[in-house]
C-alpha cells in the first residue's frame, strides 16, 4: 500500500501534527509545571517531560502536548486532579511537575 492509499483509507489526518503552545492573544495566567498552577480551570498541555516510560504512559492516557484539560483541584498539596478526554486523572507531585501547562 502506498502512503496515498493509506491516507485515503484511513480517516484523514495524516497531515496532523502536534499542536504547540503558542502565545495567544489573551494574557496567560500560568505557564509552567502543572503542580505550580494556582488556577482551577482549563489548561493546555505544552510538554511532558521525564523518562520515556512516564511520557508514554501519560500519552496513552491522553496527556499529549496540545491537548486541553481541566484542572479540578489546584494546589491541593501539590497533587492535582485533571479532567482530560472525558476521564478524571489523579496525579502526584512528581508527575505533575513533569507536565508543563499553560492556562487557557
Amino acid at each position: 500500500m502506498t502512503l496515498k492509499e493509506l491516507n485515503k483509507k484511513c480517516h484523514c489526518f495524516a497531515k496532523k501534527t502536534l499542536r504547540r503552545c503558542g502565545k495567544g492573544r489573551r494574557r496567560i495566567l500560568h505557564h509552567g509545571p502543572l503542580s505550580e498552577s494556582n488556577y482551577a480551570g482549563k489548561v493546555k498541555i505544552c510538554k511532558v517531560t521525564g523518562d520515556r516510560k512516564l511520557c508514554a504512559r501519560m500519552a496513552s492516557l491522553g496527556v499529549i502536548p496540545g491537548e486541553e484539560a481541566e484542572l479540578i483541584c489546584p494546589k491541593s498539596g501539590s497533587r492535582c486532579i485533571l479532567r482530560i478526554n472525558g476521564g478524571t486523572l489523579s496525579l502526584d507531585q512528581t508527575t505533575s511537575n513533569n507536565i508543563i501547562v499553560q492556562s487557557v
Binding site: F13, A14, L89
Partner: protein, 739 residues
C-alpha cells in the same frame, strides 16, 4: 453449529463495568485464581446461552496494550496465547473517547472484536447521545448497547458475540494513520516483517511494527529471541526515526502514535456518533463532588468522618448478630457437654473444636459488615479518592496511596483481617512498595486482636475504654508506617513509583455487586476457620492435654477427692449428685463440698497443663519472657497466637479457668486476670503491645509466602517477633521502674 463450546474474553478500561457484566453473565459460576507467576487475579466463569457452553474470562482492566504494567502484559498475552474466539470490549459510553483508545489497539491487533457499549443510561443523564449504529459502521465491528448493572442488552450482546466467534476470522489489523513521518517508516517495517514472517502468526506485521515504534520492552525481547538479526535491523530503523522526532518535535514516537489514535477516535466521534445536549465544558456531578471531597481542607475531614462512619456501622450493626453467633456456640457447647460422656472426646470437641472454630466463626457477622462497608466505598468510587488523598502521607513512609486499602482491610479501623489485607496488596504495582505494605499490614489490629485488647483494656483501664482503644489503634498505625519506612530504607530500598490513577466517577453501587464482593471475602475467612484453624485448635488442645498427669499424681488427686467426700455426710453427697441433674438450691454444706471439689479439679487441671507439652514450652520460655512480664501461662496463649490470633483469648480462658469448661466468659476471665498476682497495668500494656506486633498468624504467613515467598514469610515472623518483644520488654522494664 460449528461451536458448542465458545471462549470469550472481557476486556476494557478499569471501571468500565467489566466485572459487573461478568457477574451478571456468570452469577456464582465463577472461579478466581492467579495468572501463573504473578499476582493478577484470573477470573473465569461459565454460562450457557442457547446451545452453547461459554467460558468467559474477565481480563484485568487496562488503558492500553503496551507493556507498561503487569495487567497490560497479562491481557495481551492472554489474547495471543489463548486466542479467545471473541473479545468483548466493554466501552463506557459516558467516557467514550478514553475508552475507545483501547479499542483502537484491539483493532490494530486484529482480534475478533465486539463492542459492548456500557452505561448508556449514565451517558444519557449526562446529555450524551451515542448513535451506536454509526459507530459500528465507522469501526467496522458490531456495537451492542448494554446496561451492565441491570443486565439490559446482555442477551443480544452474547448472541452477536457468538455470531462473530462462529465466523473464525483471521487476524486482520485495522489501519490508522500516524502522520507522514511515521507512516513511511511503518510501511517499511511492515514489508520487512511480512517478508521474514517475523513473530507471525501470533501478531500481525502491522501490530509488531507499531510495538517496535512504541519501544515496547516485551515485544523487543520477544523479537530478539526469535530472530536476533532482523530484530537488530528493526531496532536500528526505529532508532533513527526516534532520534529525528526527538530532535525536530521534542517527542517520542509513542506520543505521536497516541496523539493520532486519539485523533482517529475524535474523527469518528465527530462524524455524528456522539452529540452533547448540554455544554461540553460543564463539570459533571462527579467532578463537582470531587471539588469538595478532595479539597485540601475539606477532603481529610470528610474522609475521617466516612471512615468513622464505617467503623460505627461495622461495630454497632454487627453487635446483635455477633451475640447470636456467640449464643449459638455456647448453646452448642452446653448441648455437647450434656450429651457426651466425660472423657477425651468431650474435652476435644468442646475445647478443641467448638471453642476454637466457634471463636472464629463468631466474628463472621462483624467481618461481613466490614467487608460490606468496604465494598460500598470501593464500588462507589470513594476508595480511589481515599488512596489519592492518603498518597501524600503514605509517600512520606515509602508507601503508595494504594497501600491504604490493604491497611484498612487488615484492621486500620480495628476489626479487619490481615489475610484479605495481604491479598489486597495486589493492587500495588511497584514490587518494593507492595512488599513494604505486605510486611507491615499484619501490624494492624485485626478482628482477632480486638477482643484481646477489649478484654485487657476493660480489665485494667476500665475508666477510659474508648480512649485507650483509640490510642492502641493509632499506635498500630504509627508502628506500621514507621516499620514500612524502616524497611524502605534498608532491605527494600528503591525509588517511589509515580501515582497516576484514573478516578472512577462516583456511582451508586449495585446490590448484587456488593453482595458478591462481600461474600467472596467473607468466604475466604470462613474457609480459614473451617480448615487451618480447626486443625490448629485441635493440635493446641492436644498440646495442652497430653501427656497428662503421671499416675502417681492422678492418684493423689483422686485420694484427695475421696478424702474430701468422706469428710461430709452421705446425705450431702447425694444432694450434690442430684443437683447435677436438677437445679435445686443447695444447702450450705453441699455448697461447701462443691467448692472444695472444684478447687481440687482446678488444681489438677493446672498440674495437667503445666505438665503438658504446651506447659513445658511455656515454662521453657519463662526465663526470657519474664523480662516482658509474661509468666508460663501467658506464654502458652502467645504460642497459640502464632497459630491464629483468635486462639489467644480462648487459650487465656482455658489456662486461667483451669478446667472449668462452662465458665469461659470474658468478664470472669478479666476478673481472674485482675486478681492474678502476675498481672497488673504494666503487664497488660506490655502484653497488648506484644500481641499487636508479634509474628503474624499462621494463615497470614501462608498468604505472605504465596504472595511473595517463604523467605519473606519467615522474615516477617522473625522481624515482627523480635520487634514486639523488645517493645514489650522496654514497656515492662520502664513501667515497673515507675511502678
Amino acid at each position: 453449529m460449528s461451536h458448542s463450546k465458545i471462549t470469550m474474553a472481557l476486556a476494557g478500561n478499569p471501571n468500565a463495568g467489566k466485572t459487573t457484566l461478568f457477574n451478571k453473565l456468570t452469577g456464582a459460576r465463577q472461579h478466581v485464581g492467579n495468572y501463573p507467576g504473578i499476582t493478577v487475579s484470573h477470573k473465569e466463569g461459565y454460562f450457557k446461552h442457547q446451545d452453547h457452553k461459554i467460558i468467559i474470562t474477565d481480563l484485568p482492566g487496562t488503558y492500553s496494550l503496551t507493556a507498561y504494567s503487569v495487567e497490560e502484559i497479562v491481557s495481551r498475552d492472554f489474547l495471543t496465547n489463548e486466542k479467545p474466539d471473541v473479545v468483548i470490549n466493554i466501552v463506557d459510553a459516558s467516557n467514550l473517547e478514553r475508552n475507545l483508545y483501547l479499542t483502537t489497539q484491539f483493532l490494530e491487533m486484529g482480534v475478533p472484536l465486539i463492542i459492548a457499549l456500557n452505561m448508556m443510561d449514565v451517558a444519557r443523564d449526562r446529555g450524551i447521545e451515542i448513535r451506536f449504529k454509526k459507530l459500528s459502521e465507522l469501526l467496522g465491528i458490531p456495537v451492542v448497547p448494554i446496561i451492565a448493572r441491570s443486565g439490559k442488552g446482555k442477551e443480544e450482546l452474547i448472541s452477536e458475540a457468538i455470531k462473530i466467534a462462529n465466523k473464525n476470522l483471521p487476524l486482520i489489523s485495522k489501519d490508522i494513520s500516524y502522520g507522514e513521518d511515521l507512516d513511511e517508516v511503518l510501511m517499511e517495517l511492515i514489508d520487512t516483517i511480512a517478508e521474514a514472517s517475523f513473530l507471525t502468526p501470533n501478531y500481525t506485521p502491522r501490530f509488531t511494527a507499531i510495538k517496535y515504534l512504541e519501544h515496547d520492552d516485551q515485544m523487543l525481547t520477544k523479537g530478539a529471541e526469535s530472530n536476533p538479526e532482523l530484530a537488530r535491523h528493526l531496532e536500528q530503523t526505529v532508532g533513527v526515526v526516534s532520534d529525528h522526532l526527538l530532535k525536530t518535535m521534542d517527542v517520542y514516537p509513542e506520543a505521536i502514535i497516541a496523539d493520532h489514535r486519539y485523533g482517529f477516535i475524535k474523527s469518528i466521534v465527530r462524524q455524528g456518533v456522539m452529540t452533547h445536549k448540554f455544554d461540553t465544558d460543564r463539570l459533571y456531578t462527579s467532578d463537582r463532588i470531587d471539588k469538595v471531597l478532595t479539597n485540601r481542607l475539606m477532603g481529610p475531614v470528610v474522609m475521617l468522618a466516612i471512615l468513622f462512619g464505617l467503623y460505627q456501622f461495622t461495630f454497632s450493626w454487627s453487635e446483635l448478630p455477633v451475640l447470636w453467633m456467640e449464643g449459638f456456640f455456647s448453646w452448642l457447647g452446653a448441648t455437647v457437654e450434656f450429651y457426651l460422656p466425660d472423657g477425651m472426646l468431650k474435652s476435644m470437641v468442646i475445647s478443641g473444636v467448638i471453642d476454637g472454630v466457634g471463636g472464629v466463626l463468631g466474628f463472621v457477622p462483624l467481618i461481613m459488615f466490614m467487608f460490606f462497608g468496604i465494598a460500598v466505598l470501593e464500588d462507589s468510587g470513594y476508595l480511589a479518592r481515599v488512596a489519592f488523598m492518603m498518597d501524600r502521607i503514605f509517600r512520606t513512609f515509602g508507601l503508595h496511596g494504594s497501600s491504604v486499602m490493604p491497611f484498612i482491610v487488615s484492621g486500620g479501623i480495628a476489626g479487619g483481617c490481615a489475610v484479605p489485607g495481604v491479598m489486597a496488596t495486589r493492587t500495588l504495582r511497584s514490587p518494593k512498595e507492595r512488599m513494604a505494605t505486605l510486611l507491615t499490614v499484619p501490624f494492624m489490629n485485626c478482628g482477632a486482636k480486638v477482643p484481646v485488647l477489649v478484654l485487657l483494656i476493660g480489665t485494667f483501664f476500665n475508666e477510659h475504654k474508648a480512649l485507650y482503644m483509640f490510642l492502641f489503634t493509632m499506635h498500630a498505625w504509627l508502628v506500621a508506617l514507621f516499620a514500612a519506612k524502616f524497611l524502605r530504607m534498608t532491605v527494600l530500598k528503591g525509588e517511589a513509583t509515580p501515582f497516576v490513577m484514573e478516578l472512577p466517577p462516583y456511582r451508586f453501587p449495585t446490590f448484587q455487586g456488593l453482595l458478591i464482593h462481600t461474600w467472596e471475602r467473607t468466604w475466604q475467612y470462613i474457609k480459614k476457620a473451617g480448615t487451618v484453624i480447626l486443625g490448629i485448635s485441635i493440635l493446641l488442645w492436644a498440646l495442652m492435654t497430653f501427656p497428662g498427669l503421671p499416675d502417681s499424681q492422678s492418684e493423689y488427686y483422686e485420694t484427695l477427692r475421696n478424702q474430701t467426700l468422706s469428710s461430709f455426710t452421705p446425705h450431702v453427697q447425694q444432694e450434690l449428685e442430684k443437683r447435677i441433674s436438677k437445679s435445686n438450691q443447695l444447702s450450705a454444706d453441699a455448697e461447701m463440698l462443691r467448692n472444695k471439689l472444684n478447687l481440687i479439679d482446678q488444681q489438677q487441671s493446672a498440674a495437667t497443663l503445666k505438665n503438658s507439652v504446651a506447659g513445658k514450652i511455656g515454662s521453657f520460655f519463662e526465663p526470657v519472657s519474664s523480662f516482658a512480664g509474661f509468666d508460663w501461662r501467658t506464654n502458652i496463649a502467645m504460642l497459640g497466637g502464632f497459630a491464629a490470633k483468635e486462639v489467644i483469648i480462648s487459650t487465656l480462658g482455658t489456662v486461667y479457668s483451669m478446667g472449668d469448661l462452662s465458665s469461659e466468659n470474658a468478664g470472669s476471665l478479666g476478673q481472674r486476670l485482675f486478681n492474678d498476682p502476675n498481672w497488673n497495668r504494666v503487664v497488660a500494656v506490655s502484653a497488648m503491645v506484644f500481641i499487636m506486633f508479634y509474628a503474624p498468624c499462621f494463615v497470614t504467613l501462608v498468604c505472605i509466602a504465596k504472595e511473595a515467598s517463604w523467605k519473606w514469610a519467615f522474615f516477617s515472623m522473625a522481624f515482627n517477633t523480635v520487634f514486639a518483644f523488645l517493645a514489650a520488654v522496654a514497656i515492662f522494664q520502664i513501667g515497673s521502674l515507675f511502678g
